[in-house]
């Protein structure tokens, strides 16, 4: 990075702070920005600032939104009695894009990570507890990831809500669609057998 002029160095180092961006990619992006038109660069810079100033968390589900409540909580055709709990807005977006879910969400904004010191106090649980206590929820679908952290979080939610009169479900784990048993790892295979279903 030594060869670059100071402002470029600064841009590379800022871009390098983004997740998944190494120094090489940061340099490539910086060069792209440098070659772009003044107008395009302005749009990019403004959109970065805008996202920070305009986006807030939905009052109900903590999804990212411009309004008080997000478009999903706002939509009266969605089943408000079913809440799908996800780790972050990206997971929510992935489920939304699948198009197969017509309930609502709750975003935890994190996952239990004991080794990083992230405990229940660091997750957004209060809003979920409040919604459940209001008494209109019939089912909680726990859709945290299937690694140790996601599983531990799922166990915590189960423990917290098992006394309430609601159905608690966990997303299925196992064979990916189109998967070939020969190439699937042991853990996935054993989960597939554990969560087998009747035909």
């Amino acid at each position: 990075m030594k060869a670059y002029a100071q402002p470029i160095k600064k841009l590379i180092s800022e871009l390098g702070k983004l997740p998944g961006i190494g120094e090489k990619t940061a340099a490539r992006l910086a060069n792209y920005i440098l070659r772009s038109t003044e107008d395009d660069v302005k749009k990019l810079a403004e959109s970065i600032i805008e996202v920070k100033s305009k986006i807030k968390l939905c009052r109900i589900c903590l999804n990212l939104t411009e309004e008080e409540t997000c478009h999903i909580c706002h939509d009266t055709t969605r089943d408000q009695e079913v809440i799908c709990v996800v780790e972050d807005p990206d997971a929510l977006a992935a489920i939304e894009e699948s198009g197969g879910f017509r309930g609502t969400y709750h975003v935890l904004h994190g996952v239990l990570a004991p080794l990083d010191g992230i405990g229940p106090d660091n997750l957004r649980l209060g809003e979920l507890v409040r919604r459940i206590n209001e008494g209109h929820v019939k089912e909680i679908i726990i859709a945290t990831n299937t690694n140790v952290q996601g599983e531990t979080t799922a166990l915590l939610l189960t423990r917290m809500f098992k006394e309430k009169n609601i159905k608690l479900t966990r997303i299925a784990m196992g064979m990916p669609m189109g998967g070939d048993l020969k190439y699937i790892d042991k853990m996935t295979i054993s989960k597939s057998l554990e969560f087998r279903r009747g035909m």
Binding site: G22, P114, L115, N147, V148, T152, K186, T188
Partner: protein, 257 residues
């Protein structure tokens, strides 16, 4: 150019750190090399090569190469031996297992082989999978790890007058001096909590007792609280920092009881 030598070992995954766009830096506690750090190229992207292997406290077979002892290992392959299914299905046990590897990480310098520490992890994870999670399991793990890594607190006798622990007497634990004092030597302040001879004896017992017998031990509330306060205080003192996974364990306990 130095030749990369190839090595094979078994190791527990202690932690992973995201590195760049697609790689992970993985810390293991290995049988043959003690704490070992290696880079797993493409582990974040390729779900085939390293599928589900780098999960905390999983026991794995590792093949790695490296140019020299002080360089990061290059992980060629890593396969699961045991992912401790029974532990992962239980929140309390997962938190305890996480605490075990967190402590092991803190108390182990890189590259220093200690087969007994490896065996300790292996024995305790096996026991945790089979038996009920208990305070005794956690405290006895702490005692044993402290002993194996050279930080065993002096609990056999008063560190000042050397009088052996006697039933019925009260003692005071001094983390800074690494041991207990009898009430005559301790000159306790009003805020200092005494600990019973029973607690001291329990910890001494747990340090060496046969692993198979640990499941038979159930600490009373006061014994559990006293031994906890001694060991947690001592560990924090030795490390000079709090242990994150312990803090998380406390938070969960508070929420779920």
């Amino acid at each position: 150019m130095a030749v990369r030598e190839s090595y094979k070992t078994t190791g527990f995954v202690l932690r992973t750190l995201s590195y760049g766009e697609s790689d992970l830096i993985v810390t293991f506690y290995s049988h043959d090399f003690g704490k070992l750090k290696g880079i797993a190229k493409g582990a974040k992207r390729s779900k085939k090569r390293f599928a589900n292997v780098f999960e905390p406290f999983s026991l794995t077979n590792i093949i790695f190469t490296r140019k020299s002892r002080d360089m990061l290992a290059f992980i060629e392959s890593c396969d699961i031996i045991d992912h401790y299914h029974a532990i992962r299905q239980d929140m309390e046990k997962t938190l305890i297992a996480s605490y075990f590897i967190d402590l092991t990480d803190h108390f182990s310098p890189e590259g220093k082989k200690n087969e007994k520490v490896f065996q300790l992890l292996r024995d305790f994870l096996l026991m945790l999978g089979k038996e009920k999670a208990s305070d005794a399991t956690v405290r006895f793990f702490e005692m044993r790890l402290l002993k194996l890594t050279g930080f065993e607190p002096a609990l056999e006798h008063c560190i000042v007058c050397k009088t052996p622990v006697t039933n019925g007497n009260s003692y005071y634990f001094h983390a800074g001096e690494g041991g207990i004092k009898c009430s005559a030597c301790a000159q306790p302040q009003r805020y200092e909590q005494p600990i019973s001879a029973g607690t001291v004896r329990t910890l001494l017992l747990g340090k060496d007792m046969d692993i198979e017998k640990i499941k038979l031990i159930a600490l009373t509330d006061s014994l559990a609280a006293e031994s906890r306060s001694i060991l947690i205080g001592f560990i924090a003192h030795v490390l000079g920092r709090e242990v994150k996974s312990l803090k998380v364990m406390e938070q969960v306990r508070k929420l779920c009881t």
